[in-house]
C-alpha cells in the first residue's frame, strides 16, 4: 500500500505542475521549426510534460497534426464518417469553422517517427494498463539510452505484473551486458539470461557483443546466439509451413471452381480466371457502395460475388458451351475468346488501372505468437475460408439432390437422361456453381493481390495445374494437390528463388503426369473410361 502511494506520488506530481500554457512557447517553436530541428523541441516538450502530452505525440506520429495559419495554434485532424474535423489535441474541443485552407500540416519523417515512438513508450512506462507497459518496454529495447535505463531501474523494483517485470529485466540485462566498464562476470551473467529471449534487439546486441574485445564475453555471446538460433530455426520452420499452407489455400480457392467445371463436367473453361476477376471486382463495387462499412463489406461481397460470377457462368453455359458439347477444342477456343471479351469489358467499365480494395481492419496485421513467429491475419482467415468453401462444396455434391444429379450426369449422361434428370438444367447449374465458387475465390484474392483486368490470367495456369495434378474430377485430389504444390513452392523458394521455384514445380508436375497421367487420385470404374 505504502509502495503504491509512493509510486503514485512520484509520477502524478508533475501533472499538477504542468499546465498547457507552459507548452505554448514550445509548440510555437515546433510550428516554426524545420523538420530536422524538431527532435530537440519535442525532447523539451516531453521533459516539460507528462502523459497529457500523449495525444499530441500520437497525432504527430500519425501525420494528423496541423497548425492554424493565422494563429499558429496546433490542431489535430480527425476524420469522422468521411468528414474532416479539426480539434484541439489536448482538450478535444472542435474548431468547426476551420477548413483545409486555414491549416497547414506539420510534416514528419522517419527520424521523427522513430523518436516519437520511443517518447510515447517512455511516457507509457507508467501507464496503468500492464499490457501497454509491456509493449512500451519492448518498444524501448531498440534504443536503450541512459535516460530510459534510469527510468527502468527506478520502476523495476516496484513492478508487480510478472510479464512487465520480465520485459524490464530483459532490458536491464541488455544494458548490463553492453556496459564495458562493468565486471566481466556480471556481464556474462546478463548475457546468459539473454539467451532465453527471442527478441530481435537482443540478437542484434549479441551479434555486436560477439565481436567484443574481451574473449570471455565473445564466447558467452556466441553461445547465447547459438541457443537462440536453434529455437528460432524451429519457429522458422513453422513459419514456412504456414506460408506453404497459405499459398496452398489460395491455389485451392482458385482451382476448386475449375475442379467442378473442368473436373466434373469436362469443359475446358479458359474463362475461369475471369470468373475470379469478376468476384474481385464485385468486392470493389460493394466497397464503393458501402464506404463507411468496410469491415462488413466482405460479408456482403461473398454472396454478391457468388451471384455475379454464377450468373455469368450460367449465361456462358446457356449461350456458348451448350452448343459445343463434346467438342473440347472448340470449347477451349470459345471460352478463351470469352475471357478476352470479359477482360476488355472490365477495362472499358473500370479503366485498365488496378482498383483499390481495402482490407477490413479485422483482417489486417498479424497474430504475434512470439518475436520470431507471427502469422498474418489475412492469410490465416483465407486459409480457414478456403477449407470452409471446400467442405461446403463437398456437402453440396454429396448430400443435396443437385449434387446427386451432377454426379449422375457426369458419370453417364444418357443414362441420367433416361432416368428423367434434366441434363440441360443440371449442366447450367453445375457451371454456375463452379463459376460462383470462382467468384468467391475472387473476394479472397482481392485481399491479397491487385484487382485489375489481368487478375484472372495470373491464376488460370495454376488452377489447371492443380486440377490435373490432383486428378480430374476428384475434389479431394484438388485439395491435396493445392496444399502439396503450395508447401513445395514455399520450401523451395528460400533456396532457389521465386522464379526457379515456379519452374521446378512445373517440371515436377510434367514428370509426375508422365508417370501417372490421371493425377494423384484417378477416377475409378467404368465412368472414368
Amino acid at each position: 500500500m505504502a509502495l503504491c502511494c509512493c509510486l503514485f506520488g512520484l509520477f502524478s506530481l508533475p501533472s499538477f505542475a504542468v499546465e498547457s500554457t507552459s507548452l505554448d512557447p514550445l509548440l510555437a517553436d515546433l510550428v516554426d521549426a524545420k523538420i530536422s530541428k524538431m527532435v530537440p523541441i519535442l525532447d523539451k516538450i516531453e521533459k516539460a510534460s507528462d502523459e497529457t502530452v500523449l495525444p499530441l505525440f500520437r497525432t504527430l506520429l500519425n501525420g494528423d497534426l496541423y497548425y492554424i495559419k493565422s494563429t499558429k495554434q496546433v490542431v489535430g485532424q480527425f476524420d469522422t464518417n468521411g468528414e474532416t474535423l479539426y480539434k484541439d489535441v489536448f482538450t478535444g474541443q472542435a474548431h468547426p469553422a476551420l477548413t483545409k485552407r486555414d491549416v497547414k500540416k506539420i510534416r514528419v519523417n522517419n527520424t521523427l517517427r522513430g523518436y516519437l515512438r520511443n517518447a510515447i513508450a517512455r511516457i507509457q512506462l507508467t501507464s496503468k494498463n500492464s499490457s501497454v507497459r509491456e509493449s512500451a518496454v519492448r518498444e524501448l529495447l531498440s534504443k536503450l539510452d541512459d535516460d530510459t535505463v534510469d527510468i527502468l531501474e527506478r520502476l523495476y523494483p516496484h513492478e508487480t505484473n510478472k510479464k512487465v517485470k520480465q520485459a524490464m529485466g530483459l532490458a536491464l540485462a541488455m544494458n548490463t551486458a553492453s556496459q564495458t566498464q562493468l565486471a566481466v562476470s556480471n556481464r556474462i551473467a546478463a548475457i546468459d539470461t539473454l539467451a532465453d529471449s527471442l527478441e530481435n534487439d537482443v540478437r542484434n546486441l549479441l551479434t555486436t557483443l560477439s565481436n567484443d574485445e574481451n574473449p570471455a564475453i565473445q564466447e558467452a555471446s556466441k553461445a547465447a546466439l547459438d541457443t537462440i538460433a536453434q529455437r528460432a530455426n524451429r519457429f522458422a520452420f513453422v513459419d514456412q509451413l504456414f506460408f506453404g499452407l497459405s499459398l496452398g489455400s489460395v491455389l485451392l480457392l482458385a482451382s476448386i471452381g475449375l475442379a467442378i467445371t473442368f473436373g466434373v463436367m469436362g469443359v475446358i473453361n479458359m474463362a475461369h480466371g475471369e470468373m475470379i476477376m469478376l468476384g474481385a471486382y464485385t468486392t470493389y463495387v460493394v466497397q464503393l457502395i458501402m464506404p463507411n462499412y468496410i469491415d462488413y463489406s466482405i460479408w456482403v461481397a461473398i454472396p454478391a460475388a457468388f451471384l455475379v460470377s454464377g450468373l455469368m457462368g450460367v449465361l456462358i453455359e446457356r449461350l456458348v458451351i451448350r452448343h459445343l458439347h463434346g467438342r473440347p477444342l472448340e470449347t477451349l477456343l470459345a471460352t478463351f475468346g470469352i475471357s478476352l471479351i470479359l477482360q476488355q469489358l472490365v477495362r472499358t467499365i473500370f479503366s485498365p488501372l488496378n482498383r483499390q480494395v481495402s482490407t477490413p481492419s479485422w483482417m489486417s496485421g498479424s497474430w504475434e505468437i512470439n518475436p520470431v513467429l507471427s502469422l498474418t491475419l489475412n492469410r490465416l482467415y483465407i486459409l480457414a475460408f478456403a477449407l470452409l468453401v471446400f467442405i461446403a462444396l463437398v456437402i453440396i455434391l454429396k448430400k443435396t439432390s443437385l449434387g446427386l444429379n451432377v454426379r449422375a450426369v457426369s458419370q453417364n449422361r444418357n443414362m441420367a437422361k433416361a432416368m428423367g434428370v434434366k441434363t440441360n438444367w443440371v449442366d447450367a447449374m453445375t457451371f454456375g456453381l463452379g463459376s460462383g465458387i470462382a467468384g468467391i475465390a475472387g473476394v479472397a484474392l482481392s485481399q491479397l493481390t491487385n484487382v485489375g483486368p489481368n487478375l484472372g490470367q495470373a491464376y488460370i495456369i495454376d488452377s489447371f495445374m492443380v486440377v490435373v495434378f490432383g486428378g480430374v474430377g476428384n475434389l479431394l485430389g484438388t485439395l491435396v494437390a493445392a496444399f502439396t504444390l503450395g508447401i513445395a513452392t514455399k520450401f523451395l523458394e528460400p533456396t532457389t528463388g521465386a522464379v526457379l521455384a515456379a519452374i521446378l514445380v512445373l517440371v515436377f508436375i510434367i514428370l509426375f503426369i508422365q508417370k501417372r497421367p490421371k493425377g494423384l487420385f484417378p477416377q475409378k470404374g467404368r465412368a472414368a473410361e
Partner: protein, 427 residues
C-alpha cells in the same frame, strides 16, 4: 437545274475530299508507342495522355514550323515483340517524324533495331539501367547514376544503413541496376554477406517468404534497407505484406525506383508511410512550373484527383526539347534534329534547368522522398544542383572505359577512351 446543283455539290465535296489528304500531309506526325492494354497499361496509359496533352498544347500555340502537330497512337499491348512491329508501322506506314514511347527496357531493346534501320527518332521517358546509347534515341529518364547510386549514398550516409537487400523483378533493368549497385557497394566496403539479392517474376503476388527472409536478414545487428527495383503492380502486394508482417519504415526502409505517385494512387498508403523513393521529380515539389503543369494535367484529364509523376516530367522535358530542336533546325529531319537536340535547355518542373548532353542523356536533379499518407512524397534529400546522366556505368568492369558522344569528331555511342576506338555496334 436541279441536277446541275447536285453535280456541282458532288464536285465540290469531291474537291474537299481530295484536299483533305494534302492538308493532312502538312502536319508533323508524332507517334505514341505506349501500351494501352496488358500489364504495363497501368503506367503507360498516363504517358500516352501526357504526349497528347503536349501535342494539344503545342497546337494551341500554333504548332511547329507553321504546321499543326498530329498524334498517332498505337497500342503495343505490353507485348515486347509487338513494339518492334508497331514501331515499324509508325515509321513506314504513318511516316511519323518522332516517336514518344516504351516503358520497360525490354520493349525499348525490341524497338531499337527498327529505329536504327529506318533512322527514326525516339524519346524514352523512363528511368533505366544505362549501358546503352543509340543515335536514334534520347533518354530523358534517369540513368543509374541519377537514381540508384544517389539513393544508396543517401541510405549509407544519412540513415547509416550497412546491409542491403536488392530486390527486383526478373528482367534486364533490375538485373543490370543491381549489378551496378553490387559493384558500387563492394567498392564502398560493404561485405558480400551484407548484400542479399532477390528476383521475382512479373506480377508476383505471394511475397510471404521473401518478406520473411528480408525480416530475418534485417535482424542480424546491422541497420538494413531494401533497394527495390520491383516493377509494375507486383509492388502493391509487396508493400501490403511488409505492413502485415509488421516491418515499418523505421526498422527497414524500402527505397523504390519504380514506385511513383501514379502507382500509389491505387493503393491504401497507410502501411507505406515513411518508405522512400528516388526520382528526379515529385508532384509535391512547389515551383511555379510544376503548379502550372499539374493544373494543366488535371484540366486535360478532367479529373481533379489525377496525379503527376516522374516519367511524365521526362516526357514533358523530352517534348519541349524536341519542339525547340525542330524550331531551331527548321526541319523535322532526324539527323538535323538529333544534332540540334544536343545542348538543348528546358526548365525542370522541380526547379533548375535540364540540359541534353552529348550522350543523349539529361542532366537533372535527384530527389529522395518519403511516402506520405496522402500518396504524395515529402522530399527528404536532394542533390546540390543537377547530375549528368552517365550512359555507361563507371562501376562495371565492362563499361568503365566507355563513353558516349554523338558530336563530331567521335560520333559514337560506345567510345572506348583507353583504346580510342568505337566498337562495331551501333550503340
Amino acid at each position: 437545274m436541279k441536277i446541275k446543283t447536285l453535280t456541282s455539290a458532288i464536285v465540290l465535296s469531291g474537291a474537299t475530299l481530295i484536299a483533305l489528304p494534302s492538308l493532312a500531309a502538312e502536319t508533323i506526325k508524332v507517334g505514341v508507342l505506349h501500351s494501352l492494354s496488358g500489364t504495363m497499361a497501368i503506367s503507360e496509359t498516363t504517358l500516352k495522355d501526357t504526349v497528347l496533352m503536349m501535342v494539344d498544347d503545342q497546337n494551341k500555340k500554333g504548332g511547329l514550323l507553321g504546321k499543326k502537330l498530329e498524334a498517332i497512337v498505337v497500342d503495343p499491348a505490353s507485348n515486347w515483340p509487338l513494339f518492334a512491329e508497331k514501331g515499324r508501322e509508325l515509321l513506314t506506314k504513318d511516316k511519323v517524324d518522332v516517336i514518344f514511347g516504351s516503358w520497360t527496357s525490354v520493349s525499348r531493346k525490341s524497338v531499337l533495331p527498327v529505329l536504327e534501320e529506318l533512322n527514326g527518332l525516339m524519346f524514352y521517358p523512363v528511368q533505366y539501367e544505362g549501358e546503352e546509347s543509340s543515335k536514334n534515341v534520347f533518354y530523358t529518364g534517369a540513368a543509374p547514376n541519377q537514381q540508384a547510386i544517389p539513393a544508396v549514398d543517401y541510405l549509407m550516409n544519412d540513415l547509416g544503413v550497412e546491409r542491403f537487400v536488392l530486390a527486383g523483378t526478373d528482367y534486364v533493368y533490375p538485373r543490370t541496376t543491381n549489378k551496378i549497385l553490387e559493384a558500387y557497394l563492394k567498392a564502398k566496403g560493404v561485405a558480400a554477406k551484407d548484400i542479399m539479392i532477390n528476383y521475382t517474376p512479373f506480377g508476383h503476388s505471394d511475397w510471404q517468404s521473401i518478406v520473411s527472409d528480408v525480416k530475418k536478414f534485417g535482424s542480424e545487428g546491422k541497420k538494413t534497407a531494401v533497394v527495390s527495383t520491383i516493377n509494375g503492380d507486383a509492388n502493391i502486394p509487396f508493400y501490403k505484406e511488409l505492413g502485415n508482417q509488421g516491418i515499418s519504415a523505421e526498422d527497414i526502409p524500402v527505397v523504390a525506383f519504380s514506385v511513383g505517385e501514379e502507382e500509389l494512387s491505387g493503393l491504401d498508403t497507410k502501411p507505406l508511410v515513411g518508405h522512400l523513393a528516388a526520382w528526379n521529380y515529385f508532384q509535391s515539389v512547389e515551383t511555379p512550373e510544376n503548379e502550372a503543369f499539374i493544373k494543366a494535367w488535371k484540366a486535360y484529364t478532367k479529373n481533379p484527383k489525377r496525379v503527376t509523376n516522374d516519367p511524365m516530367e521526362a516526357t514533358y522535358i523530352g517534348f519541349k526539347m524536341w519542339a525547340n530542336a525542330v524550331t531551331q533546325a527548321g526541319t523535322t529531319d532526324v539527323d538535323a534534329v538529333e544534332q540540334a537536340m544536343i545542348g538543348q535547355k528546358t526548365p525542370n518542373l522541380t526547379g533548375g534547368i535540364a540540359v541534353m548532353n552529348k550522350n543523349h542523356h539529361l542532366s537533372k536533379p535527384v530527389l529522395i522522398g518519403e511516402i506520405q499518407d496522402n500518396g504524395q512524397f515529402e522530399v527528404v534529400w536532394e542533390t546540390d544542383g543537377v547530375v549528368a546522366g552517365d550512359a555507361w556505368s563507371d562501376f562495371l568492369p565492362g563499361s568503365k572505359d566507355l563513353i558516349s558522344d554523338w558530336t563530331a569528331p567521335i560520333k559514337c555511342g560506345n567510345y572506348n577512351t583507353k583504346t580510342k576506338t568505337c566498337s562495331g555496334q551501333n550503340y
